[in-house]
């Protein structure tokens, strides 16, 4: 199970990478392994305002449907359209296959997220 240094994590297994005022969101290696073969991602609209913990989109694997929740609040400024045709990229490289980019509206929210060490401890507790 890979947990990457330098990213922030949620209890629902999303990761967040912060670049300036932009937050890049994806799902963790743990999440993709739990889901199994990802078959479909219902990508959101660009420009949508989203609040922290709100649903960004749904990810479907052959066996299950799971929601992706936003680790932060802000405006969705970019979506990874490549995942529309190749959702399996999330299984292959979960930390490269980002889902959305969010323009952060409240950087303070990042403090509530876990770092690598805390997320690893959290995974152990599951």
């Amino acid at each position: 199970m890979i947990v990457k240094e330098g990213l922030y994590y949620t209890k629902k297994h999303e990761w967040l990478k912060v670049e300036g005022n932009t937050g890049i969101v994806g799902i963790t290696d743990y999440a993709q392994e739990e889901l199994g073969d990802i078959a479909y991602i219902d990508l959101p609209e660009k420009g949508k305002e989203i609040k922290k913990s709100e649903e960004i989109c749904e990810i479907e694997s052959v066996k299950a449907v799971s929601e992706v929740y936003s680790p932060v609040s802000g405006k969705i400024i970019d979506i990874n359209t490549e995942l529309g045709d190749k959702p399996e990229k999330v299984n292959e490289a979960p930390y490269d296959a980002w889902i959305v980019k969010i323009e952060l509206s409240n950087k303070e929210e990042i403090k509530d997220l876990m770092d690598k060490k805390k997320y690893e401890d959290y995974l152990k507790s599951l």
């Binding site: 392994e33 073969d37 479909y40 694997s61 052959v62």
Partner: protein, 373 residues
């Protein structure tokens, strides 16, 4: 409950989950990978959770003729007949295979119905000179499926399944244990299944031996996930999903009957069986049919189906085909025809699809009747 070689599954499966009270392997390498392994090479399934009842005694044949729908008097030992167990209102209590073992019969049926069917059989057994033995928790069932299963069977047991008809079986003694080697399966592919009773060591050794000898054929262990996607792609119904009894006690006809399920081929109206009278009176309003989506999305059980803005039924089981299309079985207006356009509501969005004829794969390229291997 746990399968006999549970520890091996626990160690090797990436996902385990409860099914019918058993801790079952859902996938090892991944559903898609295992699915393709079975279509292209060969896969090994531990489906020992399935139910088995032995019926023996003077009236065994008469008993099973009355409790199941198909005529099981014809197939010689050792072979099986696909049959159905109905309630008195005609609904499917379970789908089963009845093996004629010569001196007795073995009914193989779904794990979710293990207790229910045993009770049902016990209830009627008092009127017959029969002995009913529930072997569900002792009998092992390994299923080996795929185009390379034939070569593997030859190598393992020196049995050529090409020479056998579908549902024919052979009883062999392998390393001191009696095994019924049956040409059967639930994937659409050619394959064989092993029924036997043995201790943990034997079960583990045989499992590992099959994997070892199957290596050169590209064998992989496969879980319940791929078992489900494979059977849907082949167009087969599953009891509990597509076929079931709803226990509509106040009506003459319960749902879903074999006529509704399109399983008429398993009905023998020349004999008497439980549920026959109800079927004779049934006016068909809905039927199990197969559909393929044109738009992206995975149809799930319970998704509503529309024609001209009107709900005409729902999805009973769905998945993605090898080619990535949403496919599945549905219970819809019996007047629909192959080729008819339908809309399936998936998470609030209506997606276009049409009624098709199974299987969902190209039978010239895949499945037991493929033209090239």
């Amino acid at each position: 409950m746990r399968l006999k070689i549970h520890d091996w599954h626990e160690e090797n499966a990436k996902k385990m989950a409860d099914y019918a009270g058993f801790e079952m392997p859902i996938w090892y390498s991944g559903i898609k990978d295992e699915h393709l392994t079975v279509r292209n090479n060969v896969g090994l399934f531990d489906v020992s959770h399935m139910g088995e009842i032995i019926v023996e005694g003077r009236d065994a044949l008469e008993f099973l003729q009355y409790l199941t729908t198909n005529d099981i008097s014809k197939p010689p030992p050792i072979s099986a007949t696909y049959s159905l167990i109905l309630n008195e209102r005609g609904a499917i209590k379970d789908e089963c295979l009845v093996y004629n073992l010569g001196d007795k019969y073995m009914v193989v049926y779904d794990a979710v119905a293990v207790a229910k069917i045993y009770e049902w059989f016990s209830l009627f057994s008092r009127f017959y000179d029969v002995n009913i033995i529930n072997k569900s928790y002792d009998m092992q069932l390994y299923s080996i499926q795929g185009p390379k299963a034939e070569s593997l069977c030859k190598e393992l047991f020196d049995i050529d399944i090409k020479e056998m008809w579908w549902f024919q079986a052979k009883k062999i003694n392998y390393r001191g244990v009696d095994i019924i080697v049956s040409k059967s399966g639930y994937t659409g592919e050619n394959g064989f299944e092993l029924f036997f009773e043995a201790d943990l060591k034997y079960c583990m050794d045989l499992w590992k031996e099959i994997l070892e000898k199957g290596k050169k054929y590209g064998i992989k262990p496969c879980g319940l996930g791929a078992r489900d996607t494979l059977r849907i792609e082949a167009g087969y119904t599953l009891y509990g999903e597509d076929t079931k009894e709803k226990q509509l006690l106040s009506t003459d006809i319960d749902s879903i009957t074999p006529l509704e399920a399109g399983l008429d081929f398993a009905l023998s109206f020349d004999k008497d069986f439980i549920g026959k009278k109800a079927l004779k009176n049934q006016k068909l309003q809905k039927k199990i049919m197969h559909f393929r989506l044109k738009e992206k999305g995975i149809p799930r059980e319970g998704c509503k189906i529309f024609v001209n803005e009107k709900i005409i039924g729902e999805v009973t089981s769905g998945t993605l085909s090898m080619s990535g299309d949403g496919i599945g079985l549905c219970f819809v207006d019996a007047n629909l025809n192959i080729g008819d356009k339908i809309y399936i509501e998936i998470r609030g969005k209506k997606k276009e699809g049409k009624i098709v004829k199974p299987p969902f794969y190209d039978p010239k390229k895949y499945g037991a009747f493929r033209e090239v291997i």
